[in-house]
């Protein structure tokens, strides 16, 4: 698990586990995502996608070599499913992040496409720009 490039620590380090082509967040009773009205704010969802993307970039992108940290530099063409905020989150749910690393890079920046799935249904989709820093 490549945590070292994420500038986040608890409680903002949200991704639990690396998965094939992405990462997984598992919701537990008492966890930060199950407080309040138990809906997932879109900004939170984008943040989770970005953290998942950084894991993959750490492993695949050349510009990550030598970088000590990576940031989310931009978001475009985001699509939010209405069920993201209308269907309550429950303990035991898994959020699966799939990241396509096929988009290209330039300098210290890279563009990727990320999708968050819940029970196989897309919740949030967005193009993400990651910036490597040192």
């Amino acid at each position: 698990m490549s945590f070292e490039l994420l500038p986040h620590r608890h409680p903002f380090r949200l991704v639990d586990q690396r998965a094939d082509g992405g990462a997984v967040v598992r919701l537990t009773a008492g966890g930060p995502l199950l407080r309040g009205d138990r809906s997932l704010p879109p900004t939170y969802a984008i943040e989770i996608l970005a953290e998942a993307a950084i894991f993959l970039v750490r492993e695949t992108a050349a510009e990550a070599e030598g970088a000590t940290v990576m940031y989310l530099g931009g978001i475009s063409d985001a699509t939010i499913s209405p069920t993201l905020t209308t269907r309550p989150l429950v303990a035991g749910d898994s959020l699966d992040m799939r990241i396509e690393t096929t988009r290209s890079s330039f300098g210290r920046m890279r563009k990727l496409h990320g999708v968050m799935l819940r029970d196989g249904e897309p919740m949030v989709e967005a193009d993400l720009i990651l910036v490597a820093g040192s």
């Binding site: 931009g74 290209s104 330039f106 300098g107 920046m109 890279r110 563009k111 720009i129």
Partner: protein
């Protein structure tokens, strides 16, 4: 050749406006030699540079290898046109 060039320049200006979502600028408003970056020019930033590089790959099959090449190639529509003419595969 000059006719081909003007068509390509128009395509590149179209790409800049569409790809970077420059809603208040028409492709024809961009001067051939106008700097694309910086306050004296079109005012593009580094995120725009990434989008532009991806657009060039997608539309013309040309790859801007690194930031050093990008500094020359992305300077203006004239510079982009020359680069695409030399390298295009689509």
């Amino acid at each position: 050749m000059s006719q081909d060039n003007s068509e390509l320049k128009a395509q590149i200006k179209q790409l800049i406006v569409e790809r970077l979502k420059l809603d208040d600028i028409e492709p024809g408003d961009i001067g051939d030699a106008q700097p694309l970056f910086g306050e004296d020019g079109l005012g593009l930033d580094s995120i725009d540079a990434l989008e532009l590089v991806l657009g060039l790959e997608q539309d013309f099959g040309v790859r801007v290898e690194d930031e050093e090449v990008g500094a020359t190639v992305l300077a203006s529509v004239d510079a982009l046109t020359q680069f695409v003419t030399e390298r295009r595969t689509i």
